[in-house]
Amino acid sequence: MMGYYLKLAARSLARNPGLTSLMVLAIALGIAVCVVTLTVHHGMSSNPIWWKNDRLYAVTVDAWDPERPANEKRPALPPPDLTWRDAEAITRSDTPQRAVRMFKGYGVLSAGDPASKARPEQVLARVTTADFFDMFEVPFRFGNGWKSAADTGPEPVIVLSEEMNEHFFGGADSVGKTIRWDDREYRVIGVLEHWHPAPKFYDVNNGAFDDPEEIYIPFGWTDKLELRSAGNTNCWKPEDIQSFADFLRSECVWLQVWVELPDAAARERMQSYLDNYVAGERRNGRFQRPNNNRLTKVDQWLADNDVVGNDSPMLVALAFAFFTVCLINTVGLLLAKFLGSAALTGVRRALGASRKQIFLQHLTEAGLLASLGAALGVVLAGAGLWGLRIMYASPREGLTGLMHVNAWSLVITVALAIGASLAAGLYPAWRVGRLAPAVYLKSQ
């Protein structure tokens, strides 16, 4: 009978194309809004390195102002960044399998070959220790990252993003070639594949949804070149900072520190190391706030730093509210349509259709309508996400990296849409099945 019901449903929908289009559009719009919002929400709330969630830890300690917390809204949290000396001391521990200290820098990148016609680019740099690439599983197209000896050297080596390699070397293997960053030459030792962790979990305090940096430089260049941060540098204490060395000794926080700990025992050892270090500093007059030495997993780190804003769940709720309104409208239109053809239903009942058969026939029509709505909804969602990409288009992608339809939100929303539309068809289908056929047979 299902084939027969489908045939009847198709004819019924074709009988009134205006009304059918209106219902399909209502469902499609609801779905499209939900897919777009869910996609953005999913992108903004996901953990881009979930498979290492139990191994990677952001390290924070609270050397902030004894009188007030670093974050007034969340007073329990220490500052997200560290001072130079704390970062250096913490990464000296031999407990972590890998450890990274780093910051966001900037400068002008230009071609090393004077014959090159590539124009110079102002770029953001990740100034980091060697473990960054292995710890965060950064994919390489050509070459590799550097060894820790390059940090201590420091060696003039550089890793380029895929985009910068495209810009300066036309996408070719540039390993071994030379490129200039500000007034120094560096040897290219690696080129990344397209890599866009969203959110940028390893530095959420400096644009959680920004693109990753375009170049990567050994951390050892920081004090040699007196590199300044292009991200946030926060200080709480009036200090006499006359030189870069003064700045490095100051209580200003500007460095991110991450460690990779393979198991619970390593985590415990690292926590003890932190506690001991802070206790020692406390004896020297620092760390006057309550003990707050943290090793924070990535998912908790994203939550602590409000990477998923309150407006994102709110938008999802609004999108579903809109979808509900669309479905209620569809229920109304379906009810009007089904009751409008009550006389034909009466004829079918007179010819032997049971209430159940009438119910299933109309439910099939609602299901077909829902499927059409879902199909159009997916197309509209694609258009919506494409529109968002256009709106946010800029040399740096920013949020648009999140705007790809992902299977997760698509499957959830389409399943939900078909389920909800079928549910929406339940009442009209039930109502029409309950009509007394005799009333309508005379009036047809």
């Binding site: 009466g346 004829v347 049971s354 058969q357 056929p437 047979l441 005379k442």
Partner: protein, 243 residues
């Protein structure tokens, strides 16, 4: 055989109660052609709806071809209706966006017959009403008389024991009406029991037996044995007596 005993049917609203059938009793034997007449509002249509299992009743009993219909589920009533009863309506009630073939197919679909058997039954029913060549026309492409013949084909395609016809010629001119009545007589002669509700005394006279309903009751109810007669021969006399 259709047997109704002491049936009552009341329609209630907040303000009034309408007794559509009261202590209604009627028997129709297999092979009968019964014309049911009566003034407007007398309960003819309610009788037909109850007889056709489209409506229930409040008290009394009704058995159709030996099946007691009281207490049947909707599924069982629908199945019984589908297998035993064919309906013919005044306004034809064809489904406008199905062609003639598919219209005749409707009751067979609900019987879940195999495709080949359905096709055979549809073709022979359309042959009988003389419309086999129009099988793929839409109802709107046919005249009123032709549409009613399609409705008759639809009613008989499932080979029901009873045909219930509600003013089947009410929307037709006299020539077409006569053709439809001829067709109904032909079907009756093939063994199908017909109950015809009509206002038209001339049509009623063509039935084997006339039943008049007044105020929800059969005005001249007699047990079945006492009124059997070969009406076809008697009908012209009756017609002569009233004209």
């Amino acid at each position: 055989m259709l047997v109704m005993r002491h049936i009552s049917k009341v329609f209630r609203t907040d303000l009034i109660e309408t007794h559509a059938l009261r202590d209604f009793s009627l028997e129709v034997a297999e092979g009968d052609f019964v014309a049911v007449t009566g003034p407007s509002g007398s309960g003819k249509t309610t009788f037909l709806n109850v007889a056709g299992l489209l409506e229930g009743f409040d008290t009394g009993s009704y058995s159709l071809d030996g099946v007691d219909t009281s207490g049947l589920s909707d599924d069982a009533r629908s199945r019984l209706r589908n297998e035993k009863i064919g309906f013919i309506f005044q306004s034809f009630n064809l489904i406008p966006d199905l062609d003639i073939f598919d219209n005749v197919d409707v009751p067979l679909r609900y019987r879940r017959m195999k495709t080949a058997e359905r096709r055979e039954r549809i073709t022979s029913a359309l042959d009988l009403v003389g419309l086999a060549s129009r099988a793929h026309h839409l109802p709107s492409q046919l005249s009123g008389g032709q549409q009613q013949r399609v409705a008759i084909a639809r009613a008989i395609a499932g080979d029901p024991k009873f045909l219930l016809a509600d003013e089947p010629t009410g929307n037709l001119d006299s020539l077409m009406a006569r053709q439809v009545m001829d067709l109904l007589e032909q079907i009756n002669e093939m063994g199908t029991t017909i109950v015809l509700v009509t206002h038209d005394p001339e049509l009623a006279r063509r039935a084997q037996r006339n039943v008049q309903i007044i105020d929800g009751q059969v005005s001249d109810y007699r047990p079945y044995e006492s009124h059997v007669r070969p009406v076809r021969e008697a009908a012209p006399q009756a017609a002569g007596a009233t004209t």
